[in-house]
Amino acid sequence: MRPFSFTKIDNAANALAAKKEKSQFIAGGTNLVDLMKKNIAQPEQVLDVTTALSSEIEDFTKGIRIGAMARNSALTTNAIVLEKYPLVSKAVLAGASPQIRNMASTAGNLLQRTRCPYFYDVTTACNKRKPNSGCSALEGENRMSAVIGYSEQCVAVHPSDLCVALAALDAKVNIENSKNKKSVISFGDFHRLPGNEPNRDNNLPENALITSVEIPSNGFQKHSAYLKIRDRDSYAFALVSVAAALELQGTRIVAARLASGGVAHKPWRWYDAEAFLKGKEATAANFSEAANIAVQDLKPLAHNGFKKEMLQGAIATALQQCLTV
């Protein structure tokens, strides 16, 4: 780890003013500290924003606003989240470990970097870590890699569970830049596909901070599920995961949301499958067909062909769980 200075900052404006080229914000540090230990992130200055940003979870008429510093664990115990946005809580509980969830922040969760093993191994080529060095995973060990939306430059997947739920629920990301200008990025536009710039994970501008995440109110309280298939039952990243949410009138689907982790460089929405489900009966056959539709465009790599079948099973299962869980 490279030596660095550490400064605690008490509000967002000061944090943004203090930010220099080689400085980096730190919140829970559950990913950044690993990156620093492995010499992947080498900031000269670390700015602690844990007291600079809100950790409030506020209910407003059109939705919920989650402060950037709300800990992941808070999302699993907060009464409003549990009552109105249970999918968020379910997704968070499927990720990491209690210790990590106690530290990790909401904004940091959005900004965590891929767990592609080559990204973490500085002896190997990785375009995300070192642009134009190559992608070791493309023809290497890519069992955990992307099956859709990737490029020759990068086949990494986004590791978050929370973000899959936020994508499904059409969340918005509130940001503030160094000129104290506030703006909003819709969740679907927040994370990027790798394209030719895999070093860029998201569209958060340089020298900007996430201040909060908003989730618009919805009709999915009663019927949502988060299903994560992984190699072990705790502290493991998804082989594939599915956030499913249904709004039902009787047994008819009024609205459906489907998103996945472990498949792409960003949380992936299955819009065609959602469109298929809208207006249909909530039956196993329709769930199965929605799963079929979702996996049509997958382009697996050498070692992750299984994700097509697994995803198909996971989508159908998650939709079924919406009716019971």
Partner: protein, 736 residues
């Protein structure tokens, strides 16, 4: 029989070291405070094969606080590495800093020493190395094709004798490499207190082994090497060897003339302290129509390193469990550009047993005979089929029967895929395992104080198995002194010598020494007492009764003499006795084994590939159980390890780049509590009258050995898919 998970609710005595461990008072190797200590960090090679052509240390040396950087061009000479011949005969493995060859990626090639860990770590990241790279091979599956098999032990009977067996199974089995990953990372604090005197605080499973290894390498008397390993945070075999980093710390300390602390990072553990090597096996097994086994042909290969040969002994277990009149075994090792593998819990047997017990399960379906019945029909329960000596005790058949009853085996369906509930299919599986129960020579001492407090001492380590706690029980049972007056001292080289704690030999070896020294204490006290009461002059061990305050003859309080009295009359401050104990002629009369049967009930989701264990039962024959909590804890820990081995553990290797990937605890998955049901442990509990004075047989290995095949067999029973390769991850379930 009482099942320990149900009686656990009773209030029980904790472990002797428990409070020290949870309060932090107990020191693990890297936690000792040594004055003037500095810190060392290893630098690993970035390529898998080649030669180091040069180092550029300019930047690394500019980091403040850097004291020195060792390489093969700049280090103190290790006398034991002076020639190629000596390197070979040292059997140390990697001649660290005494070669320019790179044998594997991550091979330690430089050591940065600095005032602080942070400075050393940063400097290590700045060391630049130039290599002349050469071709490498790390792909076990490809490399094994190029290595021929040779006979592994004597052939029994003849292959021709069962060439026409009516029922056969002939299949291949592959297991990926697994890594020990004890919680405590390996660490050494090396301190030279004189030119030829060394103090080591080291994580290992045997302090006397560490002494011997370094005495040989450094050519100094072993008495001059003091080793502390008083608390050890898990080993699983990784501490049975002395690894290069410990020598690096010693050389670093010599170089900078200060104590040096070196703790491996978690990723360094993956290439620095051994692993269970990848393996390939082929089994052919034949039975007659009644299910009687006619013969077995077991072939096995395991990976090893280029600089050191390691044979995992995979076919050993084949000779142990069943009556095979005809048995042929072949083995080979496959050198790769990887670090050296080593023994890992249930070494060899775990691997071999997976193949045998999977094949037997498969055979049971072909025969239409229940797997439990098939095993009971073929177990070598009276005699060791290899040595033809009678087993001293072997209750594996009882383990099988009790396990079957406990899991309600009768609810298992004889054909797969019969217990279906939606997407979930339920299955039952079982397997057995056995291990040669060993015993080594061990010594122990007792120091007794005036108030009757005794301290029982031995050099043996306690790697988390409860050795010390077991010793309290044995000393209490043998002397009669209450447990609260018994203290334990372990893991220090000046204490009476004992073998390393491994291969399920720890308690079996040390228990004899504790009994012997407890009896010696009685006789010693009687000798003092005899000056006050002649009756003690000829008193035999069993006639001398010790209590909290003094000794009696034949009956409590008969001819009672208090310790205080003895101490005063004889002007004593401390009574000290030492005794040794080891195996003898009983080993010519009997064979010894520990054994266990594993039963498993699980469900498999046919849509997602998820396997969920519902029950895991492990019934073991470990002779007398000296301490049931510690013993049950060993068994359940081993079974959870086995769950990991079966369902997730795999050290990934990039065959194009030539190195390990995902070598940390996020990338390498071992089982956690969420993956395991409560492991239901039971013991037969019948003492082995011949193995040692307590009748306890080691349990460390048999808890894991049968776990993997029991699970794989249950998966087959659930969904009708036979998995012969480990780990069985969800993707394999779906595509299998």
């Amino acid at each position: 029989m009482e099942f320990l998970n149900t009686i656990d609710k009773k209030v029980k005595e904790g472990r002797v070291e428990g409070v020290d461990k949870v309060t932090g008072k107990g020191k693990f190797a890297a936690e000792y405070t040594v004055e003037n200590v500095c810190y060392a960090v290893l630098v690993g090679a970035n390529i898998p094969a080649g030669k180091i052509t040069s180092f550029n240390l300019d930047q690394a040396k500019q980091v403040s606080g850097v004291l020195d950087i060792l390489t093969h061009l700049h280090r103190p000479e290790v006398p034991g590495f002076a020639t190629e011949e000596l390197i070979k005969s040292s059997r140390f493995g990697l001649p660290i800093f005494h070669t320019d060859q790179v044998y594997f990626k991550g091979q330690p090639i430089a050591l940065v020493i600095a005032d602080t860990l942070e400075d050393a770590t940063y400097s290590a990241s700045l060391v630049e190395v130039q290599y002349a790279a050469t071709p490498f091979r790390v792909d076990f599956d490809a490399a094994r094709e190029t290595v021929g098999l040779t006979e592994a032990g004597k052939e029994r009977g003849a292959m021709a004798a069962w060439a026409n067996a009516p029922h056969t199974v002939e299949e291949e089995y592959n297991i990926k490499s697994q890594v020990h990953n004890p919680m405590e990372m390996h660490a050494t604090i090396a301190q030279w207190t004189a030119n030829d005197r060394l103090v080591l605080h080291d994580k290992n499973q045997g302090v006397n082994n560490v002494q011997n290894v370094f005495a040989n390498l450094l050519k100094i008397p072993k008495e001059n090497i003091e080793v502390f390993s008083e608390f050890v945070g898990g080993g699983f075999g990784s501490g049975l060897r002395v690894w290069p980093h410990a020598l690096a710390a010693i050389l670093g300390a010599k170089q900078v003339n200060r104590p040096v602390k070196l703790m491996l990072t978690r990723p360094q553990m993956f290439a620095g302290t051994g692993y269970r090597p990848a393996s390939w096996q082929k089994i052919k097994i034949g039975a007659d129509a009644s299910g009687k086994f006619q013969g077995i042909f077991h072939q096995a290969k395991n990976a090893t390193s280029l600089y050191e040969n390691f044979n995992d002994g995979i076919t050993r277990v084949t000779r142990l469990i069943y009556d095979f009149e005809n048995l042929k075994a072949e083995a080979a090792i496959v050198p790769l550009n990887l670090s050296a593998p080593t023994w890992m819990r249930g070494p060899g047997d775990c691997t071999g047993d997976f193949a045998i017990e999977s094949a037997i399960d498969e055979l049971s379906y072909k025969l239409g005979i229940d797997p439990v019945e098939l095993r009971l029909k073929n177990l070598a329960i009276a005699t060791n089929p290899e040595t033809k000596l009678p087993w001293s005790t072997n209750f594996l058949n009882e383990c099988v029967m009790q396990g079957a009853e406990r899991i309600n085996w009768s609810e298992r369906k004889s054909q797969p895929g019969q217990l279906v509930d939606g997407d979930w299919s339920t299955g039952y599986g079982m397997a057995v395992g056995a291990w040669n129960a060993g015993r080594g020579n061990a010594s122990a001492a007792i120091k007794m104080e005036r108030d009757g407090t005794i301290t029982v001492q031995t050099a043996m380590t306690d790697i988390g198995t409860g050795t010390g706690t077991g010793m309290v029980n044995i000393a209490h049972d043998t002397t009669g002194i209450p447990k609260e007056k018994i203290k334990i001292e372990l893991g220090h080289s000046s204490l009476p010598p004992a073998p390393s704690q491994g291969g399920s030999n720890g308690l079996s070896s040390v228990s004899g020494a504790v009994v012997a020294v407890s009896l010696a204490l009685k006789l010693k006290l009687a000798e003092f007492a005899a000056s006050q009461n002649e009756i003690y002059k000829t008193a035999k061990e069993e006639e001398i009764l010790l209590s909290e305050n003094g000794l009696s003859f034949q009956k409590n309080n008969q001819h009672f003499i208090s310790y205080a009295d003895i101490w005063s009359k004889n002007g004593l401050t401390m009574v000290e006795v030492e005794a040794s104990s080891g195996p003898g002629t009983e080993r010519q009369k009997y064979s010894f084994c520990s054994s266990a049967a594993h039963f498993c009930k699980l469900k498999v989701n046919t849509k997602t590939g998820k396997v969920k264990l519902e029950r895991m039962i492990c019934i073991a024959d470990g002779g007398k159980i000296v301490n049931d909590q510690a013993a049950a804890n060993q068994m359940s820990g081993a079974a959870v390890g086995g769950i990991g081995m079966t369902l997730m553990e795999e050290q990934q290797i990039d065959t194009r780049l030539g190195g390990l990937i995902a070598d940390d605890l996020a990338g390498y998955h071992f089982a956690v509590n969420a993956d395991a049901p409560i492991i239901e442990v039971g013991f037969i509990g019948k003492p082995d009258p011949n193995i040692n004075p307590t009748g306890a047989k080691g349990l460390g290995e048999v808890g894991i050995i049968g776990t993997a095949p029991a699970i794989a067999n249950a998966i087959y029973n659930a969904i009708g898919k036979r998995f012969r390769d480990l780990p069985i991850t969800p993707d394999k379930i779906l595509l299998g």
